[in-house]
Amino acid sequence: MLTILSVDKVTKQFRKHEVVLKNVTLDIKEGTFTAMIGASGSGKSTLLNIMSGLLKPTSGSVLYKGKNLTMFDDNEIANFLRNDVGLIFQNYYLLSHLTVEENINIGISNTGRHYELNEISKVLGIENLLRHFPSELSGGQQQRVAIARAIMKKPSILYCDEATGALDEANSKKVISLLHRIRQQYGITIIFITHNHEIAKTADRVITIKDGMVYRDTTCTNPISVKQMSWA
């Protein structure tokens, strides 16, 4: 498997004496589902932001398909976000004045490359919700719309920051199941931040972040299925 993303000695310091990430080095293989777990304040979200180009590290580099993300200017970052990357957050961040269909379409890349809306909406089970507004949807439905928006552009990588954090057990399982299905169907690389160990067990690889460093990096040879997840 090819390396799609390479993090090399990344350090992030916000204020004096506040070093959030310390010399983090790791590679992400294409088409894998990587879970990053760690306690609150461990630096996992910061690492995700750096890996997705949203934040610049204090030192170190991030290579995406050989290109140094940390040297990108604003326009290049914008293009990267627009064309290559999908982002999914705990709070969905849908545009309240757009319908579901419009929210999904607004995620289409600059190049015009995208999946068909019918196909995506069917995969995510939201084909009957296209004319609705976010305020009319449940949390689980909103998150599925956010996923649709994120993958509509055919991204290479999907970054998920606590994507199930605001959902109940049933919806969380649905979302995880969908993400795995998308990965298998479309070959998208997924990096998933969570503090839920059950979700991490479904991943191909689990990276544990502790005190700003990679504490443990485990490749799972037999990840469990979503059905097998047991919520505490």
Partner: protein, 745 residues
């Protein structure tokens, strides 16, 4: 209490842009009010004192020539003080000198400087004439074959505006009143106007006594103070300015209240959970609201007092205008307690009350609702459904911006209000600016004469001079409208002459011979709402007549009706070959005649033009200021509401320019639609403003507009909008540069 006050104040101060606007709108409101009010209150008082001290006339009259004048005057002395007045017009060296007899009981001259003449070689003049011609007390002045020493300058209380009795308005550079000794006055030979000035002896039954005079058949002319053009102008001006000041206060005050209400409503929504937290901690809604009220009180108080000070300073501009327009020695700045209360106390109280209302209404929600940020308005309102329907008709690229705009009724309303105010002021300003040239043009078109000569008595027409002269009959009349008697002039023109050709509104020549009825000037038509085809009741010499409006002329004299001379002669019971005036190109110096040249007339029109142009400039400045302020609020509200959307779009990889076009600069097409919808109202309001000012000042100000102006008004609005949006686009860049995850951290 201190911790939550600190928290709330910090949150309030995070909205610096909006707070600045709230502060500025209060300053603007009180400034506009006091800018005018400081020039009114004290002057109204001073005017009353002046009128009493100088024994200003309350009416003036002329006795009919067929009556025993001495007997009539004696009969009046029981109830009235009466004094004879006379004015002689002498024209020398391109200047007009209106010598007046020296009054002793009524209309006492106010000595501005020096003294009145005591010797035959002494003269006193108006101060404006002296200043304009570089004359000083002690200098000599040669008039014809006489040489005088200037001993002083004076004002006449019955001539606040320089319109000598029986003549047209004069300009200060070319004309003056003059006082000499009685002996020298008698020696001058010139056109003399005689009348009586009078006052009611005691204040009881004043109205009844004036009514008695009006009904007295012995007078050929009677007019009370408010009917005389040369005085009561200051009072009229002060009254109309008072209305203007209160109009500013009410309109800007309401805008201010609206902005305060919107601000606090949005502020509390933004910090909903914090307010929920305060409630959950046991603070009452009154305790929490008191913090917001105190904040409003501070901004309003500082703003109101700031506006008061600026208004005081700015009012010197108005006082300067008054000083140059009127002959009155006591113009001063000052306000009454009531004016202070209106502009400061009530403004502050109103803003505080609206804050209280907004806060209490919001705090009625229970803590749970506030803490959990529950939005009760989940259902789609009519406005939202409408907005979606409209947006769905448009291409995808426009749906987000259109929904953003149409769903927020308050910013849409504010946008409409901005467009209405700016376009009304712009159109009014242009029209005021153009009114003077419109008037000058209308007063010169179709006129090929230089001299307008009027006679004290009827003269016989000279047949072989009809080609070089145009004879006319002139009669003062009153038209009746809604129980009012409006003084106008009726002129019967000899249709065989061609020195004055009247044009109708289609620029076609009106032949008075063929006219069935009268032709009224455009000024009369617009001021009093009289149209072609209407019937008109009017009074001549206490006899009531009825006639028909046959045409409206665009180049007639302002307050004049025209008909054929023969027809008017028949109504007056005089032979058709008599006239009381003539238009010509030869100067004829005849005793008992008065000559007005077109040059003199034009000079007066052009001096009036200055005042209209000044008002036009003030209008434009006020319009631009208010427009900028309101547009800033519109764009700021939109910007603040869209900050999260901006961050989301940035996370999706949209560039700042794309974000600006989707979310910041969304009002452009809406402004065009609003402008087209609002334009008829703006034009109508502007027209009504002109009409009201004309009626108030009894001086027709024509309303004009054209397609290019309307286009220019729209361009001006869009330029103001672009200027405001430019600053917000820079804000977008700065916000986005802060970091992609502004909504994440």
């Amino acid at each position: 209490m201190n911790p939550i006050r600190k928290q709330i104040y910090k949150n309030l101060l995070a909205n610096k842009g909006y707070i600045a606007v709230l502060f500025l709108v209060v300053i603007l409101t009180t400034f506009m009010y006091y800018f005018v009010e400081f020039s009114i209150d004290r002057n109204a008082k001073n005017l009353l004192t002046y009128v009493n001290e100088q024994q200003k006339e309350q009416f003036r009259f002329q006795v009919r020539t067929d009556m025993d004048e001495v007997q009539i005057i004696e009969g009046l002395r029981h109830d009235y003080e009466v004094e004879a007045r006379s004015i002689k017009k002498i024209s020398l060296d391109n200047r007009s000198y209106f010598f007046i007899n020296r009054p002793n009981e009524i209309d006492l001259p106010y000595i501005v400087a020096g003294r009145l003449p005591l010797m035959e070689s002494e003269i006193a003049l108006l101060p404006q004439f002296m200043q304009s011609n570089g004359l000083e007390i002690g200098q000599s002045l040669v008039l014809g074959d006489r040489s005088y020493i200037i001993t002083g300058s004076f004002y006449l209380p019955d001539y606040e505006v320089f319109i000598p009795f029986g003549d047209i308005q004069q300009d200060d550079h070319h004309a003056t009143f003059a006082i000499v000794t009685p002996k020298i006055y008698e020696q001058y030979i010139g056109k003399e106007e005689r009348y009586y000035a009078g006052r009611v002896k005691d204040g009881n039954h004043f109205e009844a006594k004036i009514a008695d005079l009006k009904n007295n058949p012995s007078f050929s002319y009677i007019a009370t103070s408010n009917e005389i053009n040369s005085h009561s102008q200051i009072l009229l001006g002060l009254d109309s300015n008072k209305i203007l000041a209160h109009t500013f206060l009410v309109i800007l005050g309401l805008i201010s209240l609206f902005l305060y209400y919107m601000f606090y409503k949005r502020f509390m929504l933004l910090y909903k959970q914090e307010f929920g937290c305060f409630k959950a901690l046991g603070y009452t809604k009154l305790q929490i609201s008191a913090i917001l009220i105190r904040f409003s009180f501070v901004i309003s108080a500082v703003g109101a007092l700031g506006g008061l000070v600026l208004g005081y300073i700015g009012s010197s501009v108005l006082l300067q205008m008054y000083n140059s327009s009127y002959s009155f020695p006591h113009f001063a700045r000052g306000i009454n307690i009531s004016s202070f209360c209106y502009g400061v106390v009530i403004v502050i109280a109103a803003n505080v009350l609206i804050t209280y209302g907004a806060a209490i209404q919001f705090m009625k929600q229970d803590s749970y609702t506030l803490l959990n940020n529950i939005d009760k308005a989940q259902n789609m309102s009519g406005a939202k459904i409408f907005a979606n329907k409209v947006a769905n008709l448009l291409p995808q690229r426009w749906r987000l911006p259109v929904r953003v705009v149409l769903r927020k009724w308050n910013t849409l309303f504010l946008s409409a209000l901005t467009i209405l105010i700016v376009s009304t002021l712009f159109i009014t300003s242009y029209s005021l600016y153009m009114s003077s040239s419109t008037i000058i043009e209308s007063q010169t078109t179709g006129r090929t004469y230089e001299y307008d000569t009027t006679y004290d008595s009827y003269q016989q027409d000279v047949e072989n001079l009809r080609t070089t002269r145009m004879y006319y009959l002139h009669k003062d009349v009153h038209i009746l409208q809604d129980d009012r008697e409006i003084p106008l002039a009726m002129v019967g023109l000899d249709s065989r002459g061609s020195l004055l050709e009247l044009y109708n509104l289609k620029h076609e020549v009106i032949d008075l011979k063929d006219v069935n009825g009268v032709v009224i000037s455009q000024g009369i038509s617009e001021m009093y709402g009289i149209g072609k085809g209407d019937n008109l009741e009017f009074i001549i010499d206490r006899e009531q007549y009825s006639t028909h409006i046959a045409e409206i002329t665009l180049n007639g004299d302002m307050n004049t009706m025209y008909l054929d001379k023969a027809t008017l002669a028949k109504s007056l019971g005089i032979p058709s070959n008599m006239h009381s005036g003539e238009l010509s190109n030869e100067l004829k110096s005849v005793l008992n005649s008065s000559v007005v040249t077109t040059t003199e007339k034009r000079a007066v029109l052009e001096s009036n033009a200055v005042s209209n142009r000044s008002s036009a400039v003030i209008n434009q400045l006020v319009g631009a200021l208010i427009g900028c302020l309101l547009l800033y609020i519109v764009v700021l509200l939109n910007f603040q509401d869209r900050t999260q959307d901006m961050s989301i779009l940035r996370l999706l990889g949209y560039k700042p320019s794309e974000i600006n076009s989707l979310l910041v600069d969304v009002y452009r097409p809406i402004f065009l639609i609003l402008y087209l919808l609002i334009l008829p109202f703006a034009i109508n309001i502007s027209y009504q403003i002109h009409r009201l000012i004309s009626l108030q000042t009894n001086d027709y100000i024509p309303f004009s507009t054209n397609g290019w102006l309307l286009l220019l008004a729209f361009v001006a609005i869009m330029l103001l909008y672009s200027l405001v949006v430019f600053f917000f686009k820079r804000k977008t860049y700065r916000l986005i540069k802060k970091g992609y995850n502004t909504i994440l951290l």
